[in-house]
Symmetry: C2
Subunit: 150 residues, 2 copies
Amino acid sequence: MEPSLENYLHAQIPLSEAMGLHVQEASLQKIILKAPLKNNINHKKTVFGGSLHAVATLACWSLIYVNLKEKNIQAEIVIQESQIRYLAPVTADFTASCAMPDMQLWTRFITMLEKKHKARIHLTSQVYQENVLCVDYQGSFVAIRNPTCP
Amino acid sequence: MEPSLENYLHAQIPLSEAMGLHVQEASLQKIILKAPLKNNINHKKTVFGGSLHAVATLACWSLIYVNLKEKNIQAEIVIQESQIRYLAPVTADFTASCAMPDMQLWTRFITMLEKKHKARIHLTSQVYQENVLCVDYQGSFVAIRNPTCP
C-alpha cells in the first residue's frame, strides 16, 4: 500500500481515478498497480486494450518516479515509445507490474541523468491472470533533469 | 458526426466516456475521434500517453467496425499488438484519425475473413496538433467471424 503515489496519480492524471487505479505495491524494486474490470470493461466483457496499456505505462512511469524521488532527483519523466502485445483476454480485475531492470542498466541511467541531465531507460510491464501472461508491454522513458534543482 | 458509433463506444467501453471521446467523423474511408485535454490531462498539463494510445486504438478499431457493419459481416474485432511513438507533447484537445489502408490490403482482409472466418489487418493512426505530428500509432487487429452469422 502506497497511498501517496496513488493520491498523486489520481490528482495529476484524472483518468487513473476513472480507471479505478489502486497502488498495490510501490517499493523501490517493484510497482504493482491494480484496476477493476468494471471501470475498464469493453463490448466483449473483457478489459479494454487501452486500459491495459495505460496501467502498464503508469506502472513503469511510477517505478522511475519513486526511485528518483528517493534519490531526491527532480526530473521530468516522459514516455517516448511503447510496444504492447495482447496475448490473452483479461476477464477480471487485473494488475500490471514493473520490476527494477538489470542493475547495470539502472546505474547507467542514473549516472547519465546526473552527468548529462537527460537519460533514457527501457522498462517492461506484464499483466498476468491466474499465472497466464495476458499482456507484455515494453516502454522507453526519458528523464530530463532540471539542472538548477538537486 | 456519427452519434450511433459514439453512443456504442460510450455504452460498451465506459472509459471512452470518461475520456470525453467524441466521434467527429465516421465514414467508411476515415474515422476521426476527438477528446478534450481536460479529461486526459497529466502532471505536465499535457495529454496522458495512455489516453493518446487508447483514442488511437479506438480510431482503428472503429474503422473496421463501421466497414464490417456496412457489409453486414458479424465478427469480433480484437487488438493483437500495437506500437506507439510519442513525438511531441499534446497540449490541447486532440483528434486521432485512422484512414482506410491500401485497397489491396483491405480487400485481402475481407476475402480472408469471408473464406477463413479469421483475418488480420495492420492499421495506423496519427495525432496532429497544428500540423505537427505528435503521435504515430500502428496496430494489428484480428477479426474473427461467427460462421453461423451473415
